[in-house]
Symmetry: C2
DNA sequence: CTGGATGCAAACGCTTTGCAAATAG
DNA sequence: CTATTTGCAAAGCGTTTGCATCCAG
């Protein structure tokens, strides 16, 4: 029995473990695939259902690619990205530019802050070059 | 051939105008609906196609709701949000907490920065209350 | 025995793409 | 006349939901 969690879902532990092992972010589909076959395999729906719960517990954060795909990562992984609006490639930043940054106090009174996403968008070198040379 | 803009699409002006008039962000679907019937009506595909180009020109930015829906706004509208990971409600922040913040120089060398998104996620009062009272 | 969690597959909704017609230059 | 852009409708895709089943307590 777990002492802390209302519903000590083993699935959630598995998902979190997978994310931590990976060391990077993964999509729902990737998580599903990565767990498939193993001891903690679970249906795709279950993956998503539990990812949502992990988010609500503030243990997992997620961001969306321009494609609409959602990527998940452990919250302790405070990583942000540069994303090319053309080819969609994303590249991690070395440091979180707003580490420790806070939201105005008054907004937090009735809002329990769990995590944030900060993403930068622009054009990567390759796509910029490609635009200049239409032919 | 034009040397400034490959295709000075009137559609793009219309989209930008609609976004500015609205004063808030709109989804592709909303834009499509809002223009429908009017003089600058256009197909849904065209809306998306031009929104993408506006993004690549750095005139429009977009963020994704937890639902995966994309919301667009003029870049000059430097607005950020609190989003509830439970009910999905989003509330705008009064000020941009990172106004004027910059990405490390060396990352920008080969990346043309166009816009950023900064979103905070958590639980709104209502959903927090609801979680505490399981029954 | 009862409520919640799961799997599967169907359903969803937003976005993209194929292709032929319309338009610009 | 050639290169683009557009519309429409079909396809794509990740995600969510319905429902019967399974499991924990």
């Amino acid at each position: 029995m777990t002492d802390t969690l209302p519903a000590p879902s083993t699935r959630q532990r598995a998902l979190l473990a997978a994310l931590r092992d990976c060391g990077d972010e993964m999509s729902g589909q990737q998580l599903h695939r990565s767990l498939a076959g193993g001891a903690s395999a679970m249906g795709l729906a279950t993956v998503y259902r539990n990812l949502r719960q992990l988010q609500q517990k503030g243990m997992v954060r997620c961001r969306h690619l321009p494609t609409g795909e959602a990527l998940y990562a452990p919250v302790e992984q405070d990583r942000h990205h540069l994303t090319c609006v053309d080819c969609g490639e994303t590249r991690p930043l070395d440091h979180c530019p707003i580490h420790g940054l806070s939201v105005p106090q008054d907004t937090q009174k009735d809002f329990e802050l769990l995590f944030h996403t900060l993403e930068f968008f622009g054009l990567c070198q390759r796509c910029r070059d490609r635009q200049q040379l239409p032919s």
